[in-house]
Amino acid sequence: MPERILVVGGGMAAVRLAEHLADDDRFAVTVLADEPHAPYNRILLSAVLEGTHAPSALTLRSEAWFADHGIELRLGARVLEIDREAREVVLVDGERLAFDRLVLACGSIPTLPPIRGLVRRDGTLHPKVHAFRSLADCRRLDEALTPGTRAVVVGGGLLGLQVARALSVRGLQTEVVEGADHLLASQVGPGAGRVLARDLRRLGTEVYTGARAVRLTDDGLQLDNGYVLPTDLVVLTAGGRPSTALARRAGLMVARGVVVDSTLTSVTDDRIHAIGDCAEHRRRTTGFVPPAWEQAEVLARVLRGEDAAYDGRRSVARLRATGLEVAVLGDPEHAEGEIVEMSNPIVGSHRRLVVHGGRIVAAALVGDLSRVGLITQLYDRGTLLGPDEPGQLLLPEAADAPTPLPDEAEVCACAGVSAGEIRACGTVGECVDRTRATTGCGGCADVVRRLVGSSPTPVAVG
């Protein structure tokens, strides 16, 4: 009898778990997705809004895939309650589903900032107001975009900046309101935040930091400093909170998220697990895909009875928005270590590496992502660096100096001919006959033409 595994949620973490449990007849897996469409890649929504990603290309795994791999996918299935005693969940329509193991992958729900007028008396959002969490949100916002529309994005975090850029790319007059004193405040310091704000303004988006939106009226969005931003749209991206209502009602220990140990198992009930945005491990919730996927992978191994533990040390957050360059590795504002920093407000770059014991333990790269791939590798792998390396990583790569060609330098590798031998020839034809230079790959033909009959003064190439 296979173990019945119920997965609550159909987001990024849930799909990843399903992939790891696919085709394993020890398990009977059911995925309860509350959205009506096959699981899709949520982090691409801002690219869809921007118009650089086809909305038809979001699906992570089709319904057919689930069927082919022995997993039951139930779309539009909302869980009302967990009955821990009976080991059942209750759906909103009253149906009860039994489980041996329950996995909560419920994600997070957008936070509603305290803005008067946001919610109308009947409890619905003001028609100008948009959340940006789901495909439905994205579609609704997309439909609201008409030429000449003005938008205010509330929240200057990663998602806020992505959405702001997307709206701007779509031709909207866009403004960003951020309550903290600089953008991306939970990831980077004020210097980097200033660079970002300047980039955004250069791209045509006004930024208000240290300002809270307090009221939405027919005139627009009013800030606590008295300004009123006339707008047609208000997009809320001011973060989310772990979706924990089910867990709380079921009596599971919940702090900010569902509290789990390093095997992603609830500290209250060892038959219940939590992964992704709704989980809290070592007092941390994440809100990013890479740790959610790592958790899914670890949990799959745990469910298979393997020895696996989540340690959740390394995270990389990358802004995905045209014209803005941001990478945040770990927690550069709080990580312990020496700070190696290079700031160039003239070109608009601010880069910081936090180095502890010779290893990069955090980094913030804004405005200049050269070597981001390498820096990420060194961070992810915990490579022990030499004392000069962190600084060198932030310097521009030295361009190859033109190589002077002394007579003994090999010019034609195919035939093994030196510069001196070529200089000794009167013409290219003579050179070919005597040395066979240029007769192999042909790559040296240019240099040979310049060297033939020349004086032995060095010639610069490259």
């Binding site: 899709y40 890649n41 982090i43 691409l44 690219a47 650089t52 990603h53 086809a54 290309a57 979001l58 699906t59 992570l60 795994r61 089709s62 057919a64 895939w65 890479p290 990389v316 990358r318 995905r320 992502l369 050269s370 070597r371 981001v372 791939g373 390498l374 990420t376 590798q377 060194l378 992810d380 792998r381 915990g382 490579t383 022990l384 660096l385 030499g386 000069d388 390396e389 060198q392 990583l393 790569e397 030295a398 190859d400 590798a413 195919c414 035939a415 093994g416 066979r436 007769t439 192999g440 790959c441 042909g442 790559g443």
Partner: protein, 674 residues
């Protein structure tokens, strides 16, 4: 009178003329289309191989007690060989004897070797070093297209591409005359992209060079396909008409957005986008993979991922576009078609296919049931030598295993555990030096035979000079062994006669040579099996469609850790070839010995300067060589050329599950000042 023939080295099989019957001289053969008279240093110096003092001209046997060699007659040598084989089979059954061949052997030899194994010895234990060369691309090609021909078009078609993507190929050094096509393509306005952890001379000729972490080419391909789908750049009509499996592939890449690709591959996301944009806007995109992409425990999946890119763009079968593999060894293509591979019969037939067995058995005049089934793949075969379940006698042709096998220290210990090791070679290679019996054989210009180059073009190497007395051709050796074993099947020794028989055996198979003759090859500058260009109308699967298979990035089997913090990759240099048994002995080729290429950042960390000795170590072994500090390699990666003993003591023997290719191209290593 000049003899038209082909270079003894790589898969380009450049045409050349040889004059002089005693000390041959190389001259250009401009009319031969593949190289149009161009040759690299190895080709020009090919004749330097002939008649060196190190040439073996008499069969030698080694005394195991004293290690001394003594010359014996051919009869004596072959008797010893066959006595040893009989003893091994008496003790262990037919599979007690194994054969290890090579991708440099002619088609005739590869064919005869397979027949020797299956008919005269009755052993299933035969494989060859081509398993370590093109097998990942071969496996992927068969699964995707139903057929494996390295390039399904002539090499010169490269010039017609708008974008040429070279994944893990350094052809400017490994097959220099081929690099001329890149220049002509660029003169026409086309663009060249090179994907390689090193900025090689090939990358220097590219418009865009992406430098991934070794072992992550697959993730890059997934990321490109992601962007092509996102941008609506795929050819939906082509996909609907000519492929199956697209939907699952499409969904599988939704999870490979550029920033994720960046984190895995170490390639900046904007470079991934730049390449995708280049591909999306081009009417003719050609993707060519080589060993850099293929020699991985994920090699065949990596090739499939790149094939998916080419298929999604609707390129495969279009002229000047599509997918191809740049085969490595001289007869890498033909060597995998005619039966020296563990799972194959001539004509690229599968040995587990009853119809194939019946056909080939008919040509050989034996019962189909008498043919053994599939045997072990190359590395698994070597790993089994001398073990209770493995062969205790081995015959080696055209391979220098001690230098070229991964995890070489272990493989060498397996060779040393044999009861009988027989090596056919021209010189005392590192492998021959371990043998009990060394049989001196003819080489290249001393014999005639066909090779199938990287384009699937069957070419003829013609005998130009007289071999030294005392040596025999591999075909003679094979026939001599078969005769002493009492085989009733015939083993002709005239290459043209063998080729005709090979043609009959291959008839009706995927690689059908039955219409090819020596005369046609001479008249037509080589003959393409299957036609000059493939897949224009249909693929080789029964429904005529290409298969798109969703693959996932798994990464290298061995990842860097605290003790082994850098990636090690291996490859070739221009002046040497494979294990160097030939080129290291050619006086006009510089033999600078091995070296360790490392980036200034890493060199600074270690306090190492160019020329200083460094020690590279992995879980399997270590080597010491001078450092070359160059800014052209990734700072987290070191490179060692594999032509000398040492590099392969380091490499990993993790195998690709489909192709059984070892992971030569990446493992975790430590580097230190020696």
């Amino acid at each position: 009178m000049a003899t038209e023939t082909h270079c003894p080295y790589c898969s380009l099989q450049c045409g050349m003329r040889l004059t002089g019957r005693r000390a041959p001289e190389v001259s250009a053969w401009e009319e031969f289309p593949v190289n149009e008279g161009a040759l690299c240093r190895k080709g020009w110096s090919a004749a330097g191989l002939y008649g060196g003092r190190e040439r073996i001209t008499s069969p030698l046997v080694r005394d195991r007690e004293t290690g001394e060699w003594s010359a014996v007659t051919w009869d004596d040598a072959l008797d010893r060989v066959v006595d040893g084989f009989r003893a091994a089979q008496a003790a262990k059954g037919p599979d007690g004897v194994a054969i290890f061949g090579g991708g440099g052997l002619t088609n005739e030899k590869a064919y005869a070797l397979g027949k020797l194994a299956r008919v005269a010895l009755g052993t299933s234990q035969i494989d060859y070093n081509g398993r370590w060369c093109m097998s990942s691309a071969a496996s992927a090609g068969i699964r995707a297209f139903g057929l494996d021909r390295g390039l399904p078009f002539p090499l010169a078609d490269v010039e017609e591409a708008d974008v040429l993507v070279l994944v893990g190929s350094n052809l400017a050094e490994t097959m220099p005359p081929a690099a001329r096509h890149l220049d002509r393509l660029r003169e026409r306005g086309g663009r060249v992209v090179v994907v390689d952890p090193r900025r090689t001379p090939t990358a220097d000729r590219a418009d865009l060079h992406l430098q991934p972490v070794p072992g992550t080419d697959l993730a890059l391909a997934l990321g490109l396909l992601h962007l092509l789908v996102a941008g609506g750049a795929v050819d939906e009509a082509y996909l609907a008409e000519r492929t199956t499996g697209w939907e699952q592939v499409r969904d599988s890449v939704a999870a490979w957005w550029p920033e994720r690709v960046e984190r895995v591959t170490g390639i900046d996301a904007h470079e991934v986008r730049a390449l995708a944009a280049m591909l999306a806007g081009s009417p003719r995109v050609m993707v060519l993979t080589a060993r850099g992409a293929e020699q991985h425990s994920t090699g065949s999946d990596t090739v499939l991922a790149w094939i998916n890119v080419a298929l999604a763009l609707g390129m495969v079968g279009r002229r000047g576009a599509g997918y191809g593999c740049l085969t490595g060894q001289g007869n890498g293509q033909g060597g995998r078609e005619h039966g020296q591979k563990a799972d194959q019969l001539p004509g690229y037939r599968r040995i587990d296919d009853p119809a194939a067995r019946a056909h080939v058995a008919g040509v050989w005049g034996v019962e189909p049931d008498s043919l053994p089934g599939p045997g072990r793949s190359a590395y698994e075969l070597l790993d089994a030598l001398g073990t209770p379940d493995g062969p205790s006698a081995l015959l080696v042709l055209g391979s220098n295993i001690v230098v070229s096998a991964p995890n070489a220290t272990h493989v060498t210990s397996r060779l040393e555990s044999l009861d009988l090791l027989v090596v056919c070679d021209i010189v005392m290679s590192e492998t021959a030096a371990l043998a009990d019996v060394v049989l001196p054989v003819t080489q290249w210009a001393e014999e005639t035979g066909t090779m199938t180059n990287l384009e699937g073009r069957v070419v003829l190497r013609q005998k130009a000079i007289t071999p030294p007395s005392g040596v025999r051709s591999d075909l003679d050796v094979i026939a001599g062994i078969a005769e002493r074993l009492g085989s009733t099947a015939s083993f002709p020794t005239d290459p043209e006669e063998v080729f005709a028989e090979l043609g009959r055996a291959s008839e009706g198979g995927p690689a059908d040579y039955s219409a090819i003759t020596y005369d046609r090859i001479r008249a037509e500058h080589g003959v393409f099996w299957g036609g000059e260009r493939l897949f224009g109308e249909s693929f080789a699967h029964p429904d005529g469609r290409a298969r798109m298979l969703a693959v996932e990035h798994r990464g290298a089997a061995e990842q860097p850790c605290a003790d082994y913090p850098v990636h090690l990759t291996t490859g070739r240099v221009l002046a040497q070839y494979q294990s160097g048994a030939q080129t290291r002995r050619t006086r006009s080729l510089p033999d600078d010995g091995p070296f360790v290429e490392l980036h200034p950042l890493l060199a600074g960390r270690l306090g190492v300067a160019t020329g200083q000795s460094v020690r590279v170590a992995t879980r399997r072994g270590q080597m010491t060589a001078p450092a070359r500090v160059v800014a052209t390699i990734r700072p987290d990666t070191v490179f060692v050329p594999f032509h000398w003993v040492g590099a392969n003591r380091l490499t990993n023997d993790a195998l690709d599950p489909a192709s059984r290719m070892p992971e030569f191209k990446v493992c975790a290593a430590s580097v230190a000042h020696a």
